[in-house]
């Protein structure tokens, strides 16, 4: 199978969906003339024009607010946030408006809206350009949260998100944009709400998503040399969460590490660990261990950043502690 980058995979998803449905359009900062700051929109205006690939003022509030209004009136907008950190400027539009409109108005309105948010630590971007904020939105009923780890999943899930009639937050890790992986030429969709076992194993389950899937796979290779077989479960979407796949794995391995790049405290890992405790406590042979960024803002200097952000080493240590 051919290999393309994560970035190209999302670009193909955008093109295919915009070709398929004339109501799909994308708006955001530096996306049309610049092609997106990570090149993830490059070339779209040539085929779809500058109205459907809409450069906006620096107004995250207005970008998401306008996307809500457009979604309510027959369009399927994709709103780009530049950096996930800047969703903070559109919190009312996401949490108070988009998440609640279908419910609050008794099901009258549909809100087919995607918010794309490049997140995560890359190249010493420091405290305001490195965060992983997905857990905030996991806490707000009415949203779907998609967070892929591979080019294949990125494409299939973005297409599913665009076709979904609900507001979807699509978190894409900045360090993954350049990563290559197999993506078939023919069209496919990855359904929202289905986890994927990226590596089978019998000894310990590592429940993870986004960039930490790759760290977990690397960790699993190292651990395998010592005879520890780690099963890597890539959640792919946090809401709805495919808890059945997680529990099935836990019943087999009886030991769980939950790993994400977001801060440990109040992270999605807490929800995952609690859910496992509620649903499969009797199967557990060890406490659930969480791996996440230490609870400080992401510091700038490389040794500081490396000190607080977990990678393969932290997952290996966590697995060894309970294996």
């Amino acid at each position: 199978m051919r290999e393309i980058t994560f970035s190209q995979a999302t670009l193909e998803a955008m093109s295919e969906e915009m070709r398929r449905d004339p109501t799909v359009f994308v708006l955001g900062e530096d996306i049309a003339r610049q092609g997106g700051i990570f090149g993830q929109f490059k070339g779209l205006p040539a085929e779809f024009g500058y109205e459907r690939v809409l450069d906006t003022p620096i107004s995250e509030t207005a970008i998401v607010g306008a996307a809500v209004g457009a979604a309510l009136t027959g369009m399927r907008p994709v709103a780009d946030m530049h950096f996930a950190d800047f969703v903070t400027c559109a919190m009312d539009e996401i949490a108070n408006q988009a998440a609640k409109i279908h419910y609050m108005f008794g099901g009258q309105a549909r809100l087919p809206l995607v918010v794309r948010a490049p997140d995560g630590v890359v190249k010493s971007a420091a405290a305001q350009h490195s965060q992983s904020l997905e857990s905030w939105f996991v806490h707000v009923p009415g949203l779907k949260i998609v967070i892929p780890s591979t080019p294949y999943d990125a494409k299939g899930l973005l297409k599913a998100a665009i076709r979904d009639d609900n507001p979807v937050l699509y978190f894409e890790h900045k360090a993954l944009f350049a990563m290559k992986g197999p993506v078939p030429e023919e069209e496919y969709i990855v359904p929202i709400g289905k986890a994927d076992v990226k590596r089978p194993g019998k000894d310990v389950t590592c429940v993870t998503y986004s960039i930490m899937v790759h760290q977990a796979l690397d960790a699993a290779k190292e651990l395998a040399r010592d005879g520890i077989e780690t099963e890597v479960v890539d959640l792919r979407t946090l809401v709805p969460m495919d808890i059945d796949t997680v529990i099935e794995s836990v019943k087999k391995t009886k030991k769980v590490v939950v790993a994400h790049e977001a801060c440990r405290r109040g992270g999605a890992g807490a929800e995952i660990a609690a859910t496992i405790a509620e649903a499969a406590f009797d199967y557990l042979d060890a406490p659930v261990v969480r791996v996440g960024t230490l609870d400080v803002p992401i510091p700038f200097s490389p040794p500081l950043e490396a000190r607080v952000v977990p990678r393969k080493k932290e997952i290996v240590e966590a697995v060894r502690r309970i294996a």
Binding site: G65, G69, A70, T73, G74, G106, G107, Q108, D164
Partner: protein, 315 residues
């Protein structure tokens, strides 16, 4: 105007009788704005409303029965009892929703206007908001974006002198909200918001301009909130004399005087209009009161649209 007044007086009465859960914000005294603006809108045009939104709903053509049922928390209400007074919407008449967040509607209106422009439908989006909301950042982002993209959007400020308990004279950097239009390169117009014909004429011009592709307008209607911020507001922030002064400028009385003076309607004909409005609202109350409350388990429906992915994730 008369139907809105009758509706709001009944809502106040029901609230004071303990029949309405939550809070209600009445539109009494400001009826000329919604009525004057919506008179120039087509059914397919959009409005975005506020926490004080009953008047906008009625003026845009929503059903008082389903509004009243919603306000009473009944299953026959517009939102099946999930929204209440601050969250009424009727998408069938282009009423895209009241909003519990002050200033939450600006950019939704911008998006509706953007969508209308992209779909080439000639629809116009009107955003109602108060003087207080014009201090939100959302106002400024919305006006800038609507201007930059030349959108068919009309921003209608109901300058009712108070942002909850804070007077506009304290919290606004300008005397007229319309002055803020200069910063966004769009027309800003101030009218007497208690003169329904003045509102009508200014709104018609702005709406026509938007429809012709002439871009957005900021229209400010100077008016007054006769009742408290919410029913039960102790109103310690203003003198009764100020309220009485504005009561004398009631938009309905003024319009009636004019119709009488010009011989358009007789007193008898006007009384017939008032009686019909009272009758309609009484019927709406009966409908609402006789309607059932939602089943408690209905709290779990409508969280997600289920058909696109085939499954939801609510419970």
């Amino acid at each position: 105007m008369v139907r809105i007044r009758a509706f709001e007086e009944k809502v106040e009465e029901l609230f004071l009788a303990g029949k309405i859960p939550g809070f209600v914000h009445l539109y009494i005294g400001e009826e000329a704005v919604a009525s004057g603006v919506c008179a120039s809108l087509e059914r397919s045009d959009y409005i975005v409303s506020t926490h004080r939104g009953h008047g906008h709903c009625i003026a845009k053509g929503a059903s008082p029965r389903r509004m009243m049922a919603e306000i009473l928390g009944k299953s026959t209400g517009y939102c099946k009892g999930k929204g209440g007074s601050m969250h009424i919407a009727d998408f069938s008449v282009g009423m895209l929703g009241a909003n519990g967040v002050v200033g939450g509607g600006f950019n939704i209106a911008v998006g509706a206007a953007l969508s209308a422009k992209m779909r080439r439908t000639n629809q116009v989006a009107v955003c109602f908001f108060g003087d207080g909301a014009s201090n939100r950042g959302t106002f400024h982002e919305a006006l800038n974006m609507a201007s930059v993209f030349h959108l068919p959007c009309v921003f209608v400020c109901e300058h009712n002198q108070y942002a909850s308990t804070t007077p506009a004279t304290y919290s606004l950097s300008v005397r007229d909200v319309a002055d803020r239009a200069v910063g966004y390169g769009i027309p800003g117009v101030t009218v007497d918001g208690n003169d329904v014909l003045a509102v009508y004429e200014a709104a018609r011009e702005a709406i026509d301009r938007a429809r012709r592709g002439g871009g957005p307008t900021l229209l400010e209607a100077k008016t007054y909130r006769i009742k408290g911020h919410f029913v039960g507001d102790p109103e310690k922030y203003r003198d009764r004399s100020e309220v009485e002064e504005w009561k004398a400028r009631c938009p309905i009385l003024r319009f009636e005087d004019r119709l009488r003076a010009q011989g358009v309607l007789t007193e008898g004909e006007m009384e017939a209009i008032r009686a019909a409005a009272r009758e309609e609202i009484l019927e709406a109350v009966s409908f609402a009161e006789e309607s059932p409350y939602p089943d408690p388990d209905d709290a779990f429906s409508d969280l997600y649209v289920l058909d696109t992915q085939g499954e939801g994730c609510g419970r």
